[in-house]
Structure formats: structure tokens, C-alpha cells
Symmetry: C2
Subunit: 481 residues, 2 copies
């Protein structure tokens, strides 16, 4: 049976069909009666992995002096129009229930620009971790969902050129290295170089957009296929396509920038020269940051979103994927660029605030790490409980409740079974199953002697401890472990 | 000009008008051109306060052994219908863009129940921190927004009676004490006692709902007003209303429970007796937890939501609000109860999973704490930057970039100004303004001698430190402070 995704959007359908036709393409229809397509619950295991990764990402953003901001899940619909080019069809609208027309946010960048304009903020270094929503075809195998988390870092303000841009690339390197995802490469280009290149190759301005989106496919399909699309579908003259081909197959470091400065055609274009000058300066700073060897100047990098105006970048993992990770097909894991015009679009007087930023593709990173943990068989604790309160005797609920209350009040993470008379074995099994390290046991004998038995789940050793010393002893043991 | 809230919902309008008419009732229309009504951006200052409060709340949930869960922002519309009674009109629907009919989640309880049923989970202790959306009239003075954060803790599973229920109340006490919001009281009642009381007073079952919603107003208006509403608007016989009045004006501790057990009318009702039995057992456990004096058995507590089936509770702050806090009018800051039927509504075979839980009204708590900080004049740092990299000289950008890169790589939180040649005074002012404790200064002299000047912003003391010892020295200073 054909699942009804209800996605009239062409791109989405195309992508869906390619999924259905691929032998490994698995479209998830399992949860159709409970769940909106393309969304999912996150289990406690997944939440533990996510929180670890997000802590690391946010830690890096804070290391670079960013403040945290939050914006509403929905914006006035008009705030989002004309910001995303052909992707606008993927925006979720809210039903008109009387009042304003609203849409769910599509990214965290446009709300940030709206915030700056609305509050007349001229300078800000902020990060934002939050969900965004896109009506993509739910190709779950690739880790692409309709609801997903974004982690953005942006620097707004008029500064000397390329210093904040270089910091953004440094941040991407720190995060990707820190997460130990294997070797990676960050492709860098500049929208002005791209536009200049298209102009000098003889592409009419009206076709810039369409040709850019063809170029953007070069990381997935061969130049021949892209060339075919340009000529056959987008009506480009073959010799124009060939000229583009000469450029977009180039990538390298500082020497390629120098080469392009000397290029007979490109050096005639003012925009391209500006872009090349900035990219050259950028590489100077990247060298000082010790990350130049991670960066590749790549003339094929286009990036889809409309709002970029200068430097653009995208990080890809280079590692040959392990057997189990192969199906993830992760591609880009972080991206960003300069968008100097976006804030002005929200300002009644058009005042501009230049911005540059990056977004970490955390969903893909989550998927990789989840897959690795699954493969390794590593067990993830989903609770942090330190002590379990048990009894071998019947009618000891009152004593257990008094005891656990003491532990909670001392800040100790503690659990018990919600039963009047649980079996001791059941209680001990629970501790082993949940990875709880310590058990306190109270029974008639202990009550009489004013002691509590403290048991290590791992070693099964038990010692009797005076009731009044119990909290201190537990805290000592926990601090040692 | 009358702002267009577009809220045809009667209750919402009534509430809006009462706001407009109140002398202190300030309806926010400032941001009408940028923002959806009733939503707002959260500034870095607000985010710092929120994160501290949420850390404390989540810390308590973890202390009680809860796992973290997350669910999508929107659910299939049908999942939310018939769960919220008369509040259903406040649910946000998504536009039908082809495909499923979706709605934004209204709380975190219904998605949790859906999760349990969908995954056939019979037992789970989970917490969930996330946003929910309600089309309320945006009475911003009361801290009521259309988008707000909820912090929920719930225990699902068939257990011995009142043990998990007592733990929920213990958690509410721990959180409210821990946040130091002043004295508080938790009102407790039981849906079965409420229904039994209405029955024995002579209320026809068809009017239970309407009468409950009148009773629910008793924390805001007098009994006389509520009585008038019951008789004049809801068509209750005066003597029936008076009988209800005798009950709902009662609140107290264990002795009141005993009194109700002896009550000639109530003791004839099976449901009421069941509820009274459970509430009595609950108080036994609350005494063992040392929190019985914080709890008041209150026959006027009704709680609006349809899904509650047993014990219900609501925490209110008792402190006379300070001058500046008065306008906040905070009311209830935490609430919850038992809902044994909700999971079964999602299960094709109707299998029940009994649940009990609580929700912390963090938005109100945020508002109180924000107001206190504002009144106290306390300055909140919105960044965590530890070290600023400065220079007194021109053309030292390269040296600054190399230096800051070293600090970042050592995990030190560091910033610099994004200028080629900033003035030293500007750099030092920035540190004072941002509360950055340390400055490293590099100039020609330092470069020649292989040292760096380390300056304390507070004491203005400067010492020269060998470049190779800089990171270690900074780490030492930071660990001491």
C-alpha cells in the first residue's frame, strides 16, 4: 500500500520516489496511526546521547562567548516569506483559527534576524538550540525528519572583515574534532565568486538560481550528469556549461585562490575579485588558528538558501563509513555563511546588520553516534539513580519511605519499588538491571540495632553502618567512584 | 485601537476584557508587527534565569529516578480530541497542506499517554521539559502566554496504592522549597470525592461538569459569587447549592478526612469512600516524608482537565507578594493528579495503564524570579567568558588570533574584539561591562621577552607570565576563584 504523505511539493515527491525505488530505501510507515509522518518520539536512550552531544556543542559556543536566545516556535507567516527561495513550499502553516496567519519556524536564522531588527540590536553573538519544522518527504533512513533540532551560532555586527567568519570555521572544527566523528573537511566558497563565475561563463542572470541548484548536486552526482541537466533541462549552451565545468571541478587551498586571481576571465569581474580577496584573508586567519589544512576552497559549493551574501561553508565527514553506518549516508554535518542583507529585510528603514553564522547538523550526528553505540553493544544508563532502598521483610514500607526521604533530602538520587511487600530478589534484580551502584537494606534486625546494611551491587559486599552515618557514608562512596 | 487577537473563544474574550478593564491590566500590543500575539522572544538574561531554574527542577526529577523523554511538537489532531473538555477550543491546528490533520501539543501528558500506548509500555517514570501551545487570550501581566514551557514528571504503572502519588507530592515540595519562592501550600482532593459530593448534594450528573467549573473559581472569587453562578446561571436549586457550600468551604488535614468519613451523606457514597480511603493513606505517606504540614485536604479543588480520575493537587504560594511582585498574581505554581484512563483511550483494545504525575508551572516561577532580580538590581552575566585577549598596539591582530586559539584549544572561554586595531581602553571597558575576570595583554615588549601580561579586571593588578606557562596559570586562577 502506498502511504499517503500528502506532499504535493515536487522536490519532496521526487526524493520520496528515489527512496522507494532504492533497494535500501526504507520508508517508515509503522507508526502511521499514532504519529505524524516524519516525526518521532525520542526514547530515554536517545535523549541521553543527545544531551551529551548538545552539552559538548553548547560548551563550545559558550567558550566563544555566545549568549543564549530563544524565539517562538511560530512566526507571523509574512516574516518567513521570500527568505528561503524554492524551499518555501516546505514551510508548515498554522490553520487560520481567526487572527494572525502563522507558520512554524523553518530555521533559527530568520527568527534571529527578525529579533535583531525588532529590538534594534546592532551587535550580538548568540547561540540557539531548538527545533525547526520542514514538510520534507520523510526519508528516515537518511536521518531526515520533519521535526529536527538545530544548533546555531551567529555573530551579528559591523566588524573588520573575516575575523568573525574565521571564528565560525574555528568553532566548526572544534565541535567536529571534539565529537570524534573521524576526519572531516570544510568546503568554503563565496556567493560573490559563484555569481561572478556564472557571469563570466556567460550564464544569463535569470538562470543563476537554476544553475546554482544544479551545481549544488555535484557532491552527489558526477559532473557529466550535472552538465547534462544544465544543457538539456535548463537550456544552457554547451560551451557555457563547459566553462562552468572548468571552474566547479576546482578545489584546493591558498594556491587555488591565487590561481583564480590570475584567471583571465574571473579577474575581470568585480564581485568575484571581492570574494576572492575575502577568501584569501580568511585563509590567513585560518592558518593562525591552525585549521587551514581542514579547509578546502571549493568552487562547486553553492548552498541552497537565498539569504547568503558572502562566504559560505559546509563540513563533510571524510571517513569511509563503517558497515553499519553506511546506510546513514550522512553527507554534510555543519554549514553556514555570511548573510549581510537579511536583518535589513525586517527593518522598516532597511538598516542592515551584517551577520555570519553556522548551524551544526546535530540530527545527523545523533544518528551516527546512536548507530555506533548500537553496533558496539554499549549499554546506556537512562537514569542516574545512585542508591536503591530495599528490604527483605514484609510490612516495612513505612521504614523504607522514611529512609528514602532522608536520602532525597540529602540530595542523593534514590529509588524504591512502589510495592508494600516486594521480594528481596526482585529488588536486587532491579538494581542490576538499571545499573544502580548501591543498595541500602533495612530489616527488623537493622531497625533493632540502629544500623542499615549498605551493599555494593557490583561486588555484592555488604557492611552495616550506623543509621546516623548513612548519608555521609553514601556521599563518601559516591565521591570516590 | 482595539488589537485584533482573533480569539472567538468566549472564555478567552471574557478574560481579555477583564484585563482591559482592570486599572493595572496591561495588554501587550507593542510587538504586533513582528511577533505573533502572546508569544515572545526570550532574551539572554531570561535564558540564564530559566536555565538555572530548569537545572534545579530537572535535578529533582533525576533524584527520583526519572528518565527523559521527548515527543514531537505536533500530534495527529485526532489524538488530542476529547482529552481536554471545554479547553479543546484552545488547541492550535496546523493548516491542511495535504496529508494528515495535525495540532500543536496542548500539554505533555496526552503525548506521554500516547507514547505509552503506542509502544505498549506498562511501566515508566519519565520527565519531559518542553514547550506547549494554547490559544489563550494573551494576558501577559499574569505571565500567561500562548507558548510556554512545561516541566512534567509522571509515573506510569500498576503499583500499590498511593506510593507513587505520595512521591509526586514530595517532588513538588522539594522543588518549591529548593527554589526558595517563600511559603507554599499544596491543596489535595480526589475526583471521586468531588463526584460523590455532587451526587449526595443532589446535583444531576449532567451538570457535574458545569458545577465543577464553578467550584474551581473559589480560589479567585467568594462563595457567594460562586453560589450565585450555580443558581442563577447553571440552574441549581438553592438548597443544593447550599449543601455544596457546606463541603467546599472545608479544608484541613487528617482530622477533616476523618470527619468526612463520618459525614452522614458522604459516607453513603461508594465513590467518595474510595477517594477518602486513598487520601487518608496518602496523608500517612506524606507524614513519613515529613511534608504533611504543607498539604491541605481541600474539597473545593476541582482542576479543569477531563482526564483526571483520582487524587488531584495544586500548589499555591502563600507569601504576601512584595510590592513589585503584586502585579504578577501568580496563583498556582504546580499541579497534577492521577489519570488512570488516559492511556487506555489510545490503546486499540483499551488496555489501561494507571498514571499519576505533576507539572511545574515554570513560566510563573520564571516571572517571579525575573521580577525579584529586577527589583534587587542584581546584574546577571549572560556569557561565561573567562579571559579576554587584548593588545595596546596596532597591527597585532595576528598575535591575538594565535593566542586566543591556544586558549580555546585548552578549553578556556575567551573573547577578543573583531577589529584590526582596537583601542586598549575600549578592550578593557568591554571586560568590565561584560564581567570578564581576566585579561591577557600582548604587545611588542611582551612578544620580544616571550611573556604575556595577565591582568585581573577587578584588582587591576598585572603580572608578566612566560608564554608557555600562560594556560596553566589561567587554569590555576580560574580554579581558585
Amino acid at each position: 500500500m502506498m502511504p499517503s504523505f500528502g506532499l504535493p511539493h515536487k522536490r519532496a515527491w521526487a526524493s520520496l520516489f528515489s527512496q522507494l525505488l532504492r533497494p535500501s530505501g526504507l520508508v517508515c510507515i509503522r507508526e502511521v496511526h499514532f504519529h505524524s509522518q516524519g516525526t518521532r518520539d525520542l526514547s530515554p536512550q536517545q535523549m541521553v546521547i543527545r544531551e551529551k552531544i548538545l552539552d559538548m556543542v553548547v560548551g563550545c559556543f559558550k567558550r566563544h562567548g555566545a549568549k543564549r536566545l530563544d524565539t517562538p516556535a511560530f512566526e507571523l507567516k509574512e516574516m518567513l516569506t521570500e527568505k528561503y527561495g524554492e524551499d518555501s513550499g516546505l514551510i508548515y502553516d498554522l490553520k487560520d483559527q481567526g487572527g494572525e496567519l502563522l507558520s512554524l519556524r523553518y530555521d533559527l536564522t530568520v527568527p534571529f534576524a527578525r529579533y535583531l531588527a525588532m529590538n534594534k540590536v546592532k551587535r550580538m553573538k548568540r547561540y540557539h538550540v531548538g527545533k525547526v519544522w520542514r514538510r520534507e518527504s520523510p526519508t528516515i533512513v537518511q536521518g531526515r525528519y520533519r521535526e529536527f533540532c538545530q544548533c546555531d551560532f551567529d555573530i551579528a555586527g559591523q566588524f573588520d572583515p573575516m575575523i568573525p567568519d574565521a571564528e565560525c570555521l574555528k568553532i566548526m572544527c572544534e565541535i567536529l574534532s571534539g565529537l570524534q566523528l573521524g576526519d572531516f573537511l570544510i568546503k568554503v566558497n563565496d556567493r560573490r565568486i559563484l555569481d561572478g563565475m556564472l557571469a563570466v561563463c556567460g550564464v544569463p542572470e535569470s538562470k543563476f538560481h537554476a544553475i546554482c541548484s544544479s551545481i549544488d548536486k555535484l557532491d552527489k552526482v558526477s559532473w557529466n550528469d550535472v552538465r547534462h541537466e544544465m544543457v538539456a533541462k535548463k537550456g544552457l549552451a554547451p560551451e557555457v556549461a563547459d566553462r562552468i565545468g572548468d571552474y566547479v571541478q576546482c578545489h584546493g587551498g591558498v594556491s587555488l585562490i591565487e590561481e583564480m586571481f590570475q584567471d583571465s576571465r574571473l579577474s575581470q569581474n568585480k564581485q568575484a575579485l571581492e570574494g576572492l580577496g575575502d577568501v584569501k584573508l580568511l585563509f590567513e586567519y585560518l592558518t593562525l588558528f591552525g585549521i587551514a589544512e581542514k579547509i578546502s576552497f571549493d568552487l562547486s559549493l553553492a548552498r541552497g538558501l537565498d539569504y547568503y551574501t558572502g562566504v559560505i561553508y559546509e563540513a563533510v565527514l571524510l571517513q569511509t563509513p563503517a558497515q553499519a553506518e553506511e546506510s546513514l549516508n550522512v553527507g554534510s554535518v555543519a554549514a553556514g555563511g555570511r548573510y549581510d542583507g537579511l536583518v535589513g529585510m525586517f527593518d522598516p528603514k532597511g538598516h542592515k546588520v551584517p551577520c555570519v553564522g553556522l548551524s551544526i547538523g546535530v540530527e545527523r550526528i545523533f544518528a551516527i553516534v546512536e548507530q555506533r553505540i548500537k553496533t558496539s553493544g554499549e549499554k546506556i544508563r537512562t537514569t542516574e539513580t545512585q542508591v536503591f532502598v530495599a528490604t527483605p521483610q514484609k510490612n516495612f514500607l513505612h521504614e523504607r519511605l522514611k529512609l528514602i526521604s532522608e536520602l532525597w533530602d540529602a540530595g542523593i538520587k534514590a529509588e524504591l519499588l512502589y510495592k508494600n511487600n516486594p521480594k528481596l530478589l526482585t529488588q536486587l534484580h532491579y538494581c542490576e538491571h538499571m545499573g544502580i551502584p548501591l543498595v541500602v537494606i533495612i530489616g527488623e534486625q537493622e531497625l533493632k540495632e540502629g544500623v542499615i546494611k549498605l551493599r555494593s551491587v557490583a561486588s555484592r559486599e555488604e557492611v552495616a553502618i550506623k543509621r546516623e552515618n548513612l548519608v555521609a557514608e553514601i556521599q563518601k562512596r559516591l565521591s570516590e567512584s
